[in-house]
Amino acid sequence: MSSGKGKQTIITKDDELLLQNFSRNVTFKSSINFYMNALIVSVTPLWLFWKIHQMDPLEFGIIWIIMTLLSTWLVSFAYRNSKYVLKHKFAQKREDAVAREVLKSIPDDKKMPKKEKDERILWKKNEVAEFESTTFAIFYNNVLYIFLTILFSFYVLRSLNPNFNYMLSVGCSAGLLALFSTGTH
């Protein structure tokens, strides 16, 4: 691990990798994944506003584009935060099962130092936690977003003009999603 010499703390390559794996920052691939999913879920309610609220796409196209982009950014922000919180939980939950899986996969006749085994377990644990936290964060936030949009649009703001209804429903849903995701639990 890190060795402290006097007042300086030297971070090794292993520490750097560990920090990167469990930091709030996401990889480029993960970021694209989040933005694509956020875009899809932000575009989905437009169907309701077009067909049920009878908003004309040609007339309201510009507003739709602006709000969709805003919503995409806020929802992907929510995904990122949720994933960060969930990853630690899933990493703890799957620790034993992943360790067993990795140890099972090592042939008995192969002599591997303990450090290498631990590294493999840590890498696999990180991979599983990354996958489960990403997919669950997307699922959970999508459910919440769709629910809030329908609630605002067809119940809370139903008497408003369709244009304001759309802007407030989508804005509030995405905003609340981003806000809830900043919680620690």
Binding site: T44, K51, I52, A97, T135
Partner: protein
């Protein structure tokens, strides 16, 4: 004769039928003869007449009886319209040759709403909701099934390990 002109619809929508009812009440003691009703209020440029006629005639309306006439029209565009009175002409009794002229009650200004505003409030949109549900399912089902696959795999392993441990301890 007392003549009224009323609209039976609750909501007036462009492209949807409006039912107009004319009711003639003979409150006099003698029969009204050669009664004719004539309404110029529905111009061809603004309305399509779907059923009935804006002109009607009755040979005789007995005293203390009433008759009615229905016209169904479709307004072509949304907006405000003024539905004025229709005209009635009749002979007060069988002996006279003079026609008396009268007017129905006025409906006044009506507002015909756009079709899309009406649909927004009242249409069920079942097909639209079904399509939305199908679209939503893909954004929810795919990430959930991926998560669930991984979860089940590792939870089964945990259960198997726990069962093995229990068997060993026994």
């Amino acid at each position: 004769l007392l003549v009224s002109k009323t609209i039976l619809n609750e909501y007036l929508v462009a492209g949807k039928e409006i039912t107009v009812k004319y009711s003639i009440f003979n409150v006099g003691e003698s029969a009204a003869m050669e009664v004719s009703l004539h309404d110029d209020g529905f111009q061809k440029s603004s309305y399509d007449i779907v059923s009935g006629s804006t002109k009607a005639e009755w040979e005789r309306i007995a005293p203390e009886t009433n008759v009615s006439h229905i016209v169904v029209v479709v307004p072509l565009t949304a907006g405000s319209y003024n539905l004025s009175y229709a005209q009635v002409a009749y002979k007060a009794n069988a002996e006279t040759n003079d026609f008396q002229h009268g007017y129905t009650s006025q409906v006044g200004e009506i507002y015909v709403a756009q079709r899309r505003d009406f649909d927004r409030l009242f249409s069920l949109h079942l097909a639209d909701w079904l399509i939305f549900c199908a679209m939503t399912m893909t954004t929810l089902a795919i990430p959930y099934s991926l998560y669930n696959q991984s979860r089940k795999k590792y939870e089964q392993q945990d259960l198997a390990a726990a069962a093995q441990k229990k068997a060993k301890s026994l």
